[in-house]
């Protein structure tokens, strides 16, 4: 897939010298879902704001669909939709009017059929004549998405779209994002919820202290950095590991009733066969065996910790 967003050495420094972005370079492929993970203050929102034109960069360049966001801002911005982190809506306007306003701002002529389709997709059609202030928090978030989609953008930025929403609505949002991807919309989302990135993203970017630590396909990242653990449940607790089982990869659980073996799934030999035979040779009786894989959250925490170190 060709790149639809090209970010080159993007920098943002504030008057007090604080550098929110320290030369971020990132290419986003057409039609993909890229999740940007990072702790608070990492620069996720600044990155999105700078690409969308809300914040002025102090260096670097951004192209959207081949259009520079400064010199050819009309063409570039026409391709972008933005769902902000905060619920910023005019409280006394109706849903339909506020969505129609957004479409007009982007120079698109009135098209009630297109707006109806968007509102129906987001389950907002019944609320089209309702004032924003009368909507629930979840509905307001949907209105923000409807506004961002009103001009039929090719690239959609979602800045923590599910922050503070309940599980049911979060899953609805994921479905909406999946439908947009199916329609060919490129989606960049920032999130604190690792499970969200794990569930819907094609690629993961990790940002911390204004620097992009990595961008990688989610599955490859999980495979490369994900560790797998084998837990061997013993029939009787033991006080210490037998000498024949001593290994860096094997530890005894705190209550002494199980052995935890960490291994690399990509290695030629995982060492599981040898472990099990050594356990039997040591006279230990097993009652159960289970495996687990480290989550994206574990990987993210490790990456940010490494960066801090």
């Amino acid at each position: 897939m060709p790149d639809i967003v090209e970010i080159q050495d993007l920098r943002k420094a504030y008057g007090d010298g604080f550098e929110a972005l320290k030369g971020v370079s990132l290419n986003i492929r057409q039609g993909e879902i890229l999740a940007l993970l990072g702790p608070n203050g990492a620069g996720k929102t600044t990155l999105i704001s700078t690409v969308c034109g809300i914040t002025t960069a102090t260096g670097g360049s951004v192209k959207v669909g081949g259009h520079d966001t400064i010199t050819d801002y009309r063409a570039a911005r026409s391709m972008i939709g933005l769902v902000p982190q905060e619920i910023n809506l005019e409280p006394f306007e109706t849903v339909m009017n506020t969505v129609r306003f957004s479409r007009g701002l982007f120079g698109k002529p009135k098209n009630n059929a297109a707006l109806e389709k968007i509102l129906r997709q987001l389950s907002l059609w019944d609320k089209k004549d309702t004032q924003i202030r009368a909507l629930s928090g979840g509905m307001k978030r949907r209105v923000l998405i409807a506004k961002a989609l009103s001009h039929e953008p090719r690239v959609l930025f979602l800045d923590e779209p599910t922050a503070g929403v309940d599980v049911e609505l979060r899953r609805d949002m994921w479905e909406i994002v999946a439908n947009l991807k199916a329609d060919g919309v490129t989606i960049i989302l920032t999130t604190h919820y690792i499970e969200e990135a794990e569930a819907i993203a094609d690629r993961i970017g990790v940002i911390a202290k204004g620097e992009l630590l990595l961008v990688e396909d989610k599955d490859k990242l999980m495979a490369r950095m994900g560790k797998k653990q084998l837990t061997v449940q013993l029939s009787k607790p033991i006080d210490a590991l037998p000498a024949s089982l001593t290994s860096d990869a094997l530890v005894l659980s705190p209550d002494g009733d199980s052995l935890i073996y960490t291994y690399d799934t990509r290695a030629e030999r995982t060492g599981i066969t040898k472990l099990l035979s050594d356990v039997a040779a040591a006279g230990l009786v097993l009652t159960d065996i289970e495996t687990s894989q480290s989550s994206l959250e574990d990987i993210f925490v490790d990456l940010v910790k490494e960066d801090a170190a």
Partner: protein, 253 residues
């Protein structure tokens, strides 16, 4: 030009006005009627004619200017400050629009609202006093230019303001005194010589004088001076707004 965006901003702002149409309509009619009752009938009956014009009729242009200037500033400043306050300004900044289109939408709507109020006050005045407009084309020109220039000024205040208190500060502490001391209710020639000279540093004097000339053919300052003053003020406001959008001052991080 993104005319659809201009039209969208304009319609959105006008919708805000029509949502409160009763307040928008009744308030100026009521306050103007009170001014006519107090200054025109009660006090005005004891005041001799000013420059050959009955006092009730003399104050009409000043009353219209008073409302038009305050409404222009109030509408335009609120129009741009409110999106800043509630955060919806991000939409403007990320949309494919330039500063001219944004200004045309917001200032156009604010000026239209102020013009509407001005026309209502003029219509109300006909119920209280006999007035004839000697130069109707000039009257419309002055009215429209005043609406536009002070809406531009209000737009600047709306961008500058960091709170609702600041939003009221300039109109309350600067504009209202300037309008009241700008000859709304009297002729500058009625002042002592020193105050006449000082009054000429008040830009509102030129507006009210020019506007009053369009009604009665009598003015405190030459009509062309009035016209240049208002054109200069408009140009200054436009230059400031251009600078604001160029630098992103108080609007873009």
């Amino acid at each position: 030009m993104n005319w659809i965006a201009v039209s969208s901003i304009y319609k959105f702002e006008m919708a805000r006005f029509f949502r409160t149409i009763t307040q928008s309509f009744v308030s100026p009619v009521l306050s103007t009627s009170l001014y006519f009752v107090v200054f025109g009938a009660a006090i005005g009956s004891r005041i001799q004619e000013v420059e050959g014009i009955s006092y009730g009729a003399f104050i009409v242009p000043g009353l219209i200017m008073l409302s038009v200037i305050t409404q222009s500033i109030s509408n335009a400043s609120f129009g741009i400050y409110f999106p800043k306050f509630i955060g919806t300004v991000f939409e403007l900044l990320s949309a494919p629009v330039n500063f001219i289109e944004i200004v045309l939408g917001y200032v156009g709507a604010a000026a239209t609202k102020a013009l509407f109020i001005g026309v209502i006050i003029l219509a109300t005045a006909f119920f209280f006093v006999d007035i004839t407009i000697q130069h109707p084309v000039w009257m419309v020109l002055f009215l429209v230019l005043t609406c536009i220039s002070f809406s531009l000024f209000g737009f600047i205040i709306g961008i500058w303001a960091g709170s609702f208190e600041q939003l009221q500060l300039v109109p309350l502490l600067i504009i209202t005194p300037l309008v009241f001391l700008g000859g709304s209710f009297y002729s500058i020639s009625m002042l002592p010589p020193v105050w006449q000279v000082i009054s000429h540093f008040n830009p509102v004097v030129y507006l009210i004088s020019g506007f009053r000339w369009s009604f009665f053919g009598a003015a405190d300052v030459p009509i062309l001076t009035s016209l240049f003053a208002i054109a200069g003020f408009t140009a200054l406001c436009l230059a400031v707004i251009w600078w604001i959008f160029r630098t992103g001052w108080r609007i873009r991080q």
